[in-house]
Subunit: 293 residues, 2 copies
Amino acid sequence: MIDPEFNRVAIIGLGLIGGSLAAGIRQQGIARTLIAWDADDLSLSTGRDLGIIDEVADDVASATAGADLVILCVPVKAMKAVLRQIEPCDQIITDVGSVKTPFLNEACEVFGDVPAKLIPGHPIAGSERHGVTAADPNLFARHRVILTPADNADDDAVGRVELLWQGLGAETIRMSAEHHDDVLAQTSHLPHLLAYALVDTLSSGGDSLEVFQYAAGGFRDFSRIAASDPTMWSDIFQANRKPLLEILDRYMAELGKLRALVSEEDGDAMKEVFIRAKAARDHFSSIDRSRNA
Amino acid sequence: MIDPEFNRVAIIGLGLIGGSLAAGIRQQGIARTLIAWDADDLSLSTGRDLGIIDEVADDVASATAGADLVILCVPVKAMKAVLRQIEPCDQIITDVGSVKTPFLNEACEVFGDVPAKLIPGHPIAGSERHGVTAADPNLFARHRVILTPADNADDDAVGRVELLWQGLGAETIRMSAEHHDDVLAQTSHLPHLLAYALVDTLSSGGDSLEVFQYAAGGFRDFSRIAASDPTMWSDIFQANRKPLLEILDRYMAELGKLRALVSEEDGDAMKEVFIRAKAARDHFSSIDRSRNA
């Protein structure tokens, strides 16, 4: 038997992501012992009943004290309070939050500097399900995980966090926290905001129930993301406010231009934009297919 | 053997929709003879080679002369020119265009009045594929078809067009042309415009190729509809300009409100909007599931 990569892994926050990490680490034999803490006792007892964790901790401090790897899976807004309860020693600390610059800033505030073994991460794996009961050891397989180590990051710690994710079947990529937050504002946060706005606009139209009945493919696909967790997204939008507002402003300007073209019935100019968009999308989808092949 | 519902059906425009209609009508034995016309000779010879039509017509006039049912499947912009070539006699005429008020107006202009046996229709069945080679006899099964007969419409003609669609497995609904155009502006035309705007905004950001690589679920679903036919959508947006601009203005106002909430970090107000949107979407999706059950 191969020695596990980690001796004692502490998972802070045992929801869908934390639970799926625990289940995957367990299945792949990546840790000798899995300990978890969650604000909700029921999640912890469920996790133990499901057999995906070994031990339940009374608080963050005791969960993280003897661990060689700590994975923070609490909501973005709860990260700072959790960091405050960690006694910094030699553990590698990583997280799964959707926004990375604020997390690094919070670590700075709490620890005085970004600890060299704090390696921020973000698995790009969405699901509308939530809670530890939806835990899936294969949730991250064939997904990308972005790591945003700071300049002073410990190389060995980065490498071991990469091994963790690769062990769960994910592909890891490194980039700066700022770049991550820009990219995610564009490809994830903005689309979610647009979807919420669309569903809310249509459902406030008076005959909402009727309108939704005739929704065809495009609208269905799009509105699905408006079923995501309202608190989580409100927190993400606030945490990533600046990059989100920047891309939202560019989007609203583009929409204003298209509005003018529709209003002026300028079919040629419209077509030019749509052809360009279709080419970009077709290109993206061909990359995507080759990745998943 | 049951007598077919129609003796001679003429299909004008043999692309994905016209071809799928022909294939479905053939498979279900709904017509004794199927004749087709298309501006593109290759589509016609392909249709005949595929065995989904019996006869190829030289022009619209000869295709529609002896038919008891004429189905117009040409692009929205080509409808008027086609109507001009039809010698009005006793045929039932229907169409599959995405916009209904302009079609009725054009019929008025061409015939002096809306013929009692002209029954506008619109199957809510999207596909990114196109051309007769993608023809699918089951394309309309379990989809909705909206019919928008004018006040003077012949009841028997409406009933027979309903039977046609029901014979292909679709569910038919009647509503006014104006209401159809409002509903579709909201659930189909606006989402397409938003998707084109999003993909174009992101792909004009300089590092477009890179950004698209990190697109997760929500963005993928949404951007898929930006791969739709640019000419077709530019035509639809122009034809349905007024209802589209109306809902686009409401959407842009909503987006402006959300922008302010993000900018002011008003999490509570944001959450309120998202909770409302999620409830509407969850309600819609439960209707949808029970329909497809």
